[in-house]
Symmetry: C3
Subunit: 273 residues, 3 copies
């Protein structure tokens, strides 16, 4: 049965702007600045911190936690587990971004351990990353996807069922599932793949929506619709990646419930396929 989530998504966006949730990010060096700016532009409040000495205190103040494994190293893994366990205890939603899973054992193994031990609300990755966490035969090439979203579809459903989580596979058309329901989001623009950190921003924005919308599938769908719409707004008049990347922050500030009602391209199926 196909349903219409535009009202819920528009409502979640309004709530996010009103509540201004604090989002705790343990993320990679490359995107710390752009992720913080994306959250600020959207209307959330970012905090970036990784040290084991302080992450438990910070996550307890936060509405959601992002664990992003780009530029991974030992001390960061320790910080992720420390923060993640505290988030689990407190019922604070976690979004896991397995950047580059499949490209190295460190990334694949760490993502699997985080997945198994913390049961994040949402796992968001590109097709190659999601495939790597499923059957274990990802074959990623660096951190860019070498597979299509459709190729990762069954693995996403399996992972969602096995871990009781939402899996969001992003690409030209995004595929989301909680193991039963599925959603496809067709918003976005090709230039988003030409700017570093847009996938990471999508994960952080998903976390911001998880802080105001209890259904993680709706939260992830809202994030991808809103971020995709921002990409479309930014691309009109900015045909090249530098200016586009900056306009993307402008557009995250500009996008409204009205844009959602008019421009959301989302299909939701309530029964699993």
């Amino acid at each position: 049965m196909q349903v219409d989530w535009r009202d819920e998504i528009a409502g979640a966006l309004d709530q996010l702007r009103e509540k201004r949730p604090l989002v705790h990010n343990i993320t990679n060096y490359v995107v710390m600045n752009s992720t913080a700016n994306a959250l600020l532009a959207l209307g959330a409040s970012p905090v970036m911190a990784h040290a084991v000495e302080e992450v438990e205190e910070l996550v307890a103040l936060s509405g959601a936690l992002v664990l992003n494994i780009g530029t991974l190293s030992g001390p960061w893994i320790a910080g992720m587990f420390r923060a993640g366990r505290r988030a689990c205890d407190l019922g604070i939603p976690i979004v896991l971004d397995p950047v580059g899973a499949g490209a190295t054992r460190l990334r694949t193994d760490t993502s699997r351990r985080l997945l198994e031990e913390l049961h994040p609300s949402v796992l968001r990755g590109n097709a190659s990353e999601i495939l790597a966490l499923g059957a274990g035969e990802g074959g990623a090439r660096g951190v860019d996807a070498a597979h299509t979203v459709d190729q990762a579809r069954q693995t996403a459903i399996q992972l969602a069922r096995a871990h009781g989580i939402v899996v969001a596979v992003t690409g030209a058309e995004d595929f989301l599932t909680d193991g039963q329901r599925t959603a496809r989001v067709a918003n976005g623009h090709a230039l988003m793949a030409r700017v570093t950190g847009t996938g990471c921003a999508a994960s952080a924005i998903t976390a911001a929506f998880c802080a105001v919308e209890r259904d993680p599938l709706k939260a992830a769908a809202a994030a991808l619709v809103v971020f995709g719409l921002a990409g479309e707004i930014a691309a009109s008049g900015a045909p090249r990646p530098g200016t586009f990347g900056i306009r993307l922050f402008d557009a995250l500030d500009e996008v409204t419930a009205e844009h959602v009602h008019e421009g959301a391209r989302i299909k939701v199926e309530e029964a699993a396929e």
Copy 2:
């Protein structure tokens, strides 16, 4: 007695452009790039380095040192004390930015230790951070201020007197004091709070002014006037945070002594209140 510092501020800006002071930053991952760009745009020369093996050599080459505790961890604390002690020995001014003090014990305790051991020339923070370093009942919420500048006013004066330093509380209207004299700076723009790292840039710019102006209260006031004016220039024609953040670098390059004379909104009281 109220005095007019516009000539001194305009003069310090001209001196900064002429001397191009090297500013050594031990700062957080989120803002390293934007801080370096802010200093370059203004006309200073940034160096970012944290390793205990090299910070003493670098600070000895520098006109000022910035210690910024965002994304704090053990090795960075060690680097801060190593660099800070050398700066003290050499009489090189230090600016301390206690990012998120009050939000975690690691940040509050480290800020207090840096304050007590290094006696920085200037402590610059938002109201919640300054309150946390005073009576110890900050109650910060992440890294954004949860208090008004006025609420932190008495604590700022107490801290300035206790440590013999200048305290600069930034917000909608900035409050600065060396324990005797006070200054209020009303320059700036609301969009500055929508871009990550503007507070950190204010601290780095304060350090750049400390390298050319021996009176740290004047240096901090000059920094906040000049940075605030740049914010005003940037905001005209850039109503959203992405483009505004980039224009802010343009404006730091553009702002002149003439802008200071025409646009500075600063009130200085020579006697303590």
Copy 3:
């Protein structure tokens, strides 16, 4: 004998866009984001990773490796040697960027060890950095050059011969040599020195060209011509550093073989001087 490399450079640029080489960067915190964006804008695929646990796997997937010593520390040095040795074993070209060599012993010594042990294809630095790696009397002032490119000319030739590498000294006019042949590149714009990380981007772009052009002198020359042309394109209509820095990414996306044929300002001498 003077030769014309415009055809080769234009061809290398077309190849780079077609092959989209993966470039592995072990680089400093300040420029990770801007370096990744420069590579993406140009048409390459960046990966940033430093952990000893994974760098061997990542470099094996890559077309070239960048070792950049800004914000250096122990764990990063370990990662650099681990990745570099694997790159040597696999014949993957290495570009070394000795950021701030001469300013501290850590940087000078580490650069020398990397140079001697890994024999990178290209060493790219400013004049002060190259001088510091030669006679050892650099006298750098922070990370900005305190010497002219001409002052570093003989040292560059000596280093190229001693290590069997290409040395590229960048500045107002770039000087490149493999110890026999020399090239001078006069493309670029003064605003490039007002944005942090443009030197680091030049090194990463050199690595991207090394992945598609086997002659490292031609690869480095192509990188500096193409990046210089991008700087010229970006500067037209963007007279200040903030907007210029963003347009520089636009221009890396925009620059074509035709720009190379029309605008390259390069002189190559086949016999050593």
